[in-house]
Symmetry: C2
Subunit: 425 residues, 2 copies
Amino acid sequence: MNTTTTVPEGYRTLETGSLAGWLATLPAVRERLGGAPERWAVREVGDGNLNLVFRVDGPEGSVCVKQALPYLRVAGPSWPMTLERAYYEQRYYAAVAPHVGAAIPQVFHYDPARYAIVMENLTPHVILRRGLIAGHRYEHVGRDLGDYVARAGFFTSDLAEPFERKFDRIASFAGNTDLVRISVDLIFTDPYLEHPRNRHTRPQLDRDVAALRGDAEAKAAAAELGRRFLGETRALIHGDLHSGSIMVTDADTRVIDPEFAFYGPLGFDLGAFLGNLVLAWCAQPGLAAHPGEREAYRDWILAQAKAFWTAFHDRFLGLWREAGRGDAWPIAMFRGPGDESALEAARRRTLDALFADMLGYAACKMIRRVVGFAHVADLDGIADPALRARCERSALAIATHWLKRRQESRSIDEALAAVPALAAS
Amino acid sequence: MNTTTTVPEGYRTLETGSLAGWLATLPAVRERLGGAPERWAVREVGDGNLNLVFRVDGPEGSVCVKQALPYLRVAGPSWPMTLERAYYEQRYYAAVAPHVGAAIPQVFHYDPARYAIVMENLTPHVILRRGLIAGHRYEHVGRDLGDYVARAGFFTSDLAEPFERKFDRIASFAGNTDLVRISVDLIFTDPYLEHPRNRHTRPQLDRDVAALRGDAEAKAAAAELGRRFLGETRALIHGDLHSGSIMVTDADTRVIDPEFAFYGPLGFDLGAFLGNLVLAWCAQPGLAAHPGEREAYRDWILAQAKAFWTAFHDRFLGLWREAGRGDAWPIAMFRGPGDESALEAARRRTLDALFADMLGYAACKMIRRVVGFAHVADLDGIADPALRARCERSALAIATHWLKRRQESRSIDEALAAVPALAAS
């Protein structure tokens, strides 16, 4: 990473003992918690690697306080992390809030000097990734996420609004380069070359990793997707929409942690979620208490992947038909006989292109989690290296196929039906 | 136009009598002009519709002063124009100056309060469009422009540099919305519907224009190119690179008037120049003193179109091979056996896509000049409406074909060889 961070004068990490005193000065927070500040219970609940996270309970309600830390502790002191990511996180929330309803936490306050966001405490929600590892079924999660990506993507694009508003937001988020740099390096570059930050299950995957790094066609596909990641300002994207950025209950789905947000290709968010579902699918044999235990659960995961794309597709198409009043595809040009069918054909071509992008970006996200710097708990939690390597190899096989053949699948059914055979290849 | 302009306090239009007094306070300008300010000769030389332009001659040299006016006089007082365009113009010059050498005028000073640029006075240069109308041959113009677009485009893209620098410039130019709005409305929207701003040669072209506005496939193609115009931040583009934005002598070619600059698809600049060359080709029968007089000159125009694309292609490819050290297509990923040929194939695909974009954007630029608000002198100068309509009809025929079939031509020779037959169709 080339990031450098200057910690501004006046920045102090928040502390359990003094947090209530500050929160008491914020009327909206005070109202939410209720009662006297002395009665508020403050606990630090984050893992402390990237952010400080506090849960504050009052007599009438609770809030969550998330403060950015100026470094990434897991990577050692040589990896500073800009505090400004807190600014971009709350800006993302503010930009999508009018369009996605309660699918994001409610933000009560942002403090630019503390780089701290005071927001809704999500309870009894759990991180989706943990649920997928535990084999729990959240029946609405695929549909909810598809709906979410469609709404957030459509309404921040110039399909929905004058391009001037999009350009204004492009400029606002163009400064989020420290976080985008992480994606550029860790997703689109490092996994495809020898780099000291990379790791993989050794020696079992040595040959697979060497094959990937020698696969010019796969690398060209990843580089093309990476180039488009940096050069297509289609919509405000979350930028890190994996199963660790989603909190769920059986009835509710919430999207959190949008600090990687910027204007990019919408397929990147689609691919992030799909890729992490498929990683969970690949991990299941390693998580099963006995062989076959998770087979039905695996089918459920793929059904969620289908529900995700289907919900996205239907919602995005519906919104475009009903609310497509932006500068992209100006509706005023298409009011004659035959125009509606041409416009509808264009909508379908756009969705076909998004589908191919989803497969491609899903592949990039899967590959980086097996051969790159940051892995996922789904796979890393498999203690037996031989078993883990078999799961990881199946992920690489699916991903490499999607990377190179992303234009060829024309339906979600066809793409998902091929997954078991690809995994076994 | 929805633009509104607030003229800032302190803005005054420059005047011939007081200009030298201000210029005398600028050391670089004083040095260039030489002698005492009282000896400087100041003349207003612009047409006054959009900008005030002064030529100032001193004993040792001359400068040009261009000041933005807050309205577009030709369109009436209802069409205000932001003064900020002067800011974007000089920013564009500053961004490309290190890469394009003397292909732009040297800028000596920018005054943000006066919205005025003091720059090199280009003499004895003439506007290329006037030269094309007069039937003059500038043997280097196609090659020079191709080289220019390649350099300006490559070096401001993330093929050449870290994406952080590109994002920084994207943000700088994202505020140039008043000018981009003009392009969105006048190029990509209005020509394809009934709008009081539009005009065409009546009644001769009535049926042609109705056919265009009823051609759903052509409109879908224009809208797709318009969507990409607003959503692809590939390179810093000039944004208005027609033959009126180019000044020439027999030996020199200069690019001026980049106030429409922003981050967009490079094919837009390619198409602007190609489209205006082909408009000049279409106009020649109407400009000939006697039938056939301009036939050889028409061939020369198409030869310049070929030289333009060829120079662009070769220079862009060469720069990418030699200086492709940016975040797009990271060179570090492609150092194994077979990698260079995969990368070279990707380069060729990129150039093929740029070629198709060039034809598509050329088509959009040609159509708007025949059926939209602002026409070109090449065609408007043909007094006989029947003759003018024949020339304009040939432009519409070529453009409509390119708009719908832009993916099908695979070489510049093939595309240009088809021009005469398309014109006659």
